[in-house]
Amino acid sequence: MLRILINALRTGVVTTHYPAEPSVPPDRFRGAPVLRSGSRLPPPAVCPSGALTERIDAGGRHVALDLARCVFCGRCAEDPWEGAVTMGRDFELAARCRDDLRIEVVADDATIHGGSTAEPARDRDADAARASSEIRRVLGRSLQLRHLDAGSCNACDWELSALLNPVYDVRRLGIDFVASPRHADGVAVTGPVTRNLETAVRRTVEAVPDPRIVIAVGACAASGGIVGEGYASAGGVDRILPVDVYIPGCPPRPEAIIFGILVALGRLDARRVRKA
C-alpha cells in the first residue's frame, strides 16, 4: 500500500489542461485536409473512403471534401497532389450539422466556401443556439454518456476509454460514462451501425430518457466512413437516428472528442470550416 502511495506521488499530476489551454498536436498529425485552388486538385478516386467529390459547371471544377467521411489517411496530400492538398493540423472539427463538414473549392478560384449558401447557415446558427440553450436548461453543464458500439473497429472505443484515463480525465469537466442507458443523458455512438446491431442500437437509444443527445464519434458513425453502406452496414448513425453532433476523425484524438462533447453541451461553439 505504501509503495502504491509512493509511486503515485512520484508520478505527480499528468492531467492535461485542455480545453482551458489549447492542445498542440505533433508535427506529423494529420488533421483536416486543406484544399488549395488549382488544377492539380486530386480526382475523387484518390480518396479510399469517398470523401472527395467533384462537379463541373460553368464556374469550373468544384472539388468537395466531406470531413465526416474523411479517414485522414493523407493520400490526397501525397505526390503528385502535394501542395494542392495539405494535411492541416486542425482537429477541433465537431459540428452540429453534417453540411458544415463539407469543404468545397472551386478549382480556378482561391476561395473556400462552406458547404451550403449563407442563408440556411444563419438559420442553422439560430437552431444551434436554441438547441444549446435548451440543453443547458435541461442538463446544466454536466453530461452522463452511455457508449454505444454500433460496429466500430474499436479505435474510437479506445479513445472514449482514454477520456477516462488520468491524462484526459473528463470527469473534471463534469462528463462521465455510465453503465446503463437509463442513467444517461445521451449516447456516444461509434461505428457505422451494422445490420446485426441495428436493433440493439435503437433499443439502447430508446432507453435513454428524453431529451437525449446523440453524438456520432468518428468517421464510421458520422458518415459510414470507409465502411460505407453495404449489405451489413447502414452507413452512418443518422441513417437510423437523428444525430446532434458529428465528430470527424479515424479515430478522433481524445481532445477532438472532448471538443465535440462540449459542443454538444453548448459549452463551446462548433468551429465552422474557415472561410478564406
Partner: protein, 512 residues
C-alpha cells in the same frame, strides 16, 4: 517467403486428407477460404483449407487442400468433428456462401443475424453487396443453455456496461458456478471482405488498415506482405525495419494496456490507472511517429510511408525506458497483491490439448504451453533474412489468467528489447518499392503475422485485371473466442470479466 503446397482433393477424400495433415504431419488448421468461381471457366465454388506446421521452429510452410464444390449442390463433408478449429470456418461459409458442411454438429447461423433472408449468400459474386439488407423481425436465437432445477440463464450483451465492443454471452449457472457459456458474436460484421472486392489492391489497403483499431499495423502489414508476394517484390530493408518497429510498438501498447485492464477485473484500481497511463504515453508517441495514435499511416504497400528521424528515435528510446520501468513497477505491485493474484491464479484454465485442438493463437496459446509464434514460424517484416534477430518466445504451462498476464508482461519487455535492436539495425536506404500497376492477375498471396493477439492469416487473390477478387482475414481472435467460452466454464460468474480480459480478444477483426 513461406513454402506453399497446394493439393486438389476430391470432396469425398477431404476428411482423410485433413486427418493425415493434422495427424502424422502434426499440422494445424490456419484458415479456410471459400471463393465463388462460378463466373470463371471452372464454373464452381471452391474451398481452400490451409494448414500449417505446429512443431516449434518448424519450416515456414503452408499446405492447402482445395476442393471444387458444385454450385447447384453446394455440399462439402464437415471437418469439425475431426478438426475442431474448423467449426466457425464452416458455419461462416454456410452463411456467406451457402456451402453446406454436411455433418456439422451446429446448424445455427454464425455471421448473419436477425431474419437474414433465406437463400441469400452475400459473398457470392452475383450478390450486390452495396445496399443494406433490412432487419426483419426474427425469433430469438437458439442459445445453447443448460436446463435443470436451480439453473439460471444470465444474458449479457451485446451492449455491455463498459466502453467495450459488442458480443452476447449466455451463461447457464448454478449459483456462481458456470455450467455452460454460449458466446454469440459477429455483431460488428460490416461486410468488409465484400467491400474490398473489385477495388484496386492499393485502395483496399486503407480498408484493411481499418478492420481493427488495435491491430491496424499487424493487419496492414499482413495485407501488404500478401500483396507484395503477388507483385513479386520485397519491401526495402529500412522499410521492413520501420514496419516491424511499428508492429512491436502495437504489441507493446496493447500488452501494457491489457495488463492494466486485467486489474480492473480484480478491482485493483491503482493497477488499472497505471496501465492506462503507460498505454496513453505510448499512444502519444505513436501519434508523433505516425500522425495517428493507432499507428495508421506508417505502413503502406511497398514499404513505409514515413521515415523515423533520429529526433523521433530519441523520443521513442526515452519513452521505452520509462515504459519498461513503469511496467516492471506495475507487475511488482500486481504480484505483491494477494487479492489480485488470488483472483488470477487457477482462473479460466485453458488446457494444452484444447489450445491445440482449437488452433488457439498468441498469448492464450503460449500461456497454455503451445510454443508457437508467427514471428519465428512464418517470419515476416524484419524477422526475415539471413541474420534475423534473436526472438525469445515466452511460454508458460499453467494456462490460467495469471499465466496469460505474466506471458503478456514478459512479451512486452521482449518487444521493448526488439525495438532497440531494430533501431540499431536501421541503415539509410529507400522507404518504398514501386508495385506494378496493374498488379499481376489471378495470383494468390498468403501471409501470417504475429499481431498483439496472435497469428493472423491473410489470403488475397487478384482477378484478371489485377484487382482484389477475394480477400480473407483469419484473425487470431477468430480461433481464440471458442477457447474463451471453454475457459469461462471453469470459472465462477464474477470471474468471467477476468477470464475475458486475460484473453483480451478483438471482436471487430473476428467479425470483419
Amino acid at each position: 517467403m513461406a513454402d506453399h503446397t497446394v493439393r486438389f482433393v476430391d470432396p469425398a477424400d477431404l476428411p482423410a486428407a485433413a486427418a493425415v495433415l493434422t495427424g502424422s504431419h502434426a499440422m494445424a488448421l490456419a484458415t479456410v477460404v471459400a471463393t465463388d468461381e462460378t463466373a470463371t471457366p471452372d464454373g464452381d465454388l471452391k474451398v481452400r483449407y490451409v494448414f500449417e506446421p505446429t512443431a516449434p521452429g518448424g519450416p515456414d510452410r503452408f499446405v492447402t487442400l482445395v476442393i471444387s464444390v458444385d454450385a447447384t449442390r453446394p455440399e462439402v463433408p464437415s471437418l469439425t468433428t475431426l478438426v475442431p478449429a474448423a467449426n466457425w470456418h464452416e458455419r461462416e461459409m454456410r452463411d456467406l456462401f451457402g456451402i453446406v458442411p454436411v455433418g456439422h454438429p451446429d446448424p445455427r447461423p454464425l455471421v448473419v443475424h436477425d431474419g437474414w433472408p433465406q437463400g441469400v449468400f452475400p459473398l457470392r459474386k452475383a450478390f450486390d453487396g452495396s445496399r443494406r439488407v433490412a432487419v426483419e423481425p426474427a425469433a430469438e436465437f437458439p442459445h445453447l443453455v443448460a436446463e435443470g432445477e436451480g439453473v439460471f440463464e444470465i444474458p449479457v450483451g451485446p451492449i455491455h456496461a463498459g466502453i467495450i465492443e459488442p458480443g452476447h454471452f449466455r451463461f447457464s449457472s448454478v449459483g456462481e458456478t458456470v455450467l455452460n457459456l454460449d458466446a454469440r458474436l459477429f455483431y460488428t460484421h460490416r461486410g468488409l471482405e465484400k467491400r474490398m472486392e473489385g477495388l484496386s489492391p492499393l485502395d483496399a489497403f486503407y480498408v484493411v488498415e481499418r478492420i481493427c483499431g488495435v491491430c491496424s499495423v499487424a493487419h496492414g502489414l499482413g495485407y501488404c506482405e500478401a500483396l507484395e508476394q503477388i507483385a513479386g517484390v520485397a519491401a526495402p530493408p529500412r522499410a521492413r525495419l520501420i514496419r516491424t518497429i511499428a508492429l512491436e510498438l502495437e504489441r507493446l501498447y496493447n500488452h501494457v494496456g491489457d495488463v492494466g485492464n486485467v486489474c480492473a477485473g480484480a478491482a485493483f484500481h491503482y493497477g488499472t490507472t497505471a496501465g492506462m497511463r503507460l498505454k496513453e504515453t505510448l499512444q502519444q508517441v505513436n501519434e508523433r511517429l505516425a500522425g495517428n495514435r493507432f499507428l495508421r499511416g506508417l505502413v503502406i504497400p511497398g514499404g513505409a510511408r514515413l521515415d523515423l528521424s533520429s529526433d523521433l528515435l530519441r523520443v521513442l528510446a526515452a519513452t521505452l525506458r520509462d515504459t519498461l520501468a513503469g511496467l516492471d513497477a506495475l507487475m511488482e505491485r500486481i504480484e505483491a497483491n494477494p487479492s489480485v493474484v488470488d483472483r488470477l491464479d487457477d482462473t479460466g484454465v485453458l488446457h494444452h490439448q484444447t489450445a491445440l485442438d482449437l488452433a488457439v493463437a498468441g498469448v492464450a496459446a503460449r500461456a497454455s504451453g503451445v510454443d508457437r509464434d508467427a514471428r519465428r514460424d512464418h517470419p515476416h517484416g524484419a524477422f526475415v533474412g539471413v541474420d534475423p534477430p534473436d526472438l525469445h518466445v515466452v511460454t508458460a504451462s499453467e494456462g490460467d489468467a495469471m499465466a496469460r498476464v505474466t506471458v503478456r508482461a514478459l512479451e512486452a519487455r521482449e518487444s521493448i528489447r526488439l525495438i532497440g535492436e531494430f533501431v540499431r539495425r536501421l541503415e539509410a536506404g529507400p522507404l518504398q518499392i514501386a508495385l506494378a500497376d496493374p498488379l499481376p492477375g489471378g495470383r494468390i498471396g498468403i501471409s501470417a503475422i504475429e499481431s498483439a493477439r496472435g497469428e493472423a492469416v491473410h489470403w488475397l487473390r487478384t482477378d484478371a485485371a489485377g484487382r482484389v477478387e477475394r480477400y480473407h482475414l483469419r484473425s487470431p481472435s477468430y480461433h481464440n473466442w471458442p477457447a474463451v467460452a471453454l475457459a469461462g466454464q471453469t470459472a465462477i460468474v464474477p470471474d468471467f470479466p477476468l477470464v475475458n480480459k486475460s484473453f483480451e480478444l478483438c471482436y471487430s477483426c473476428t467479425d470483419r
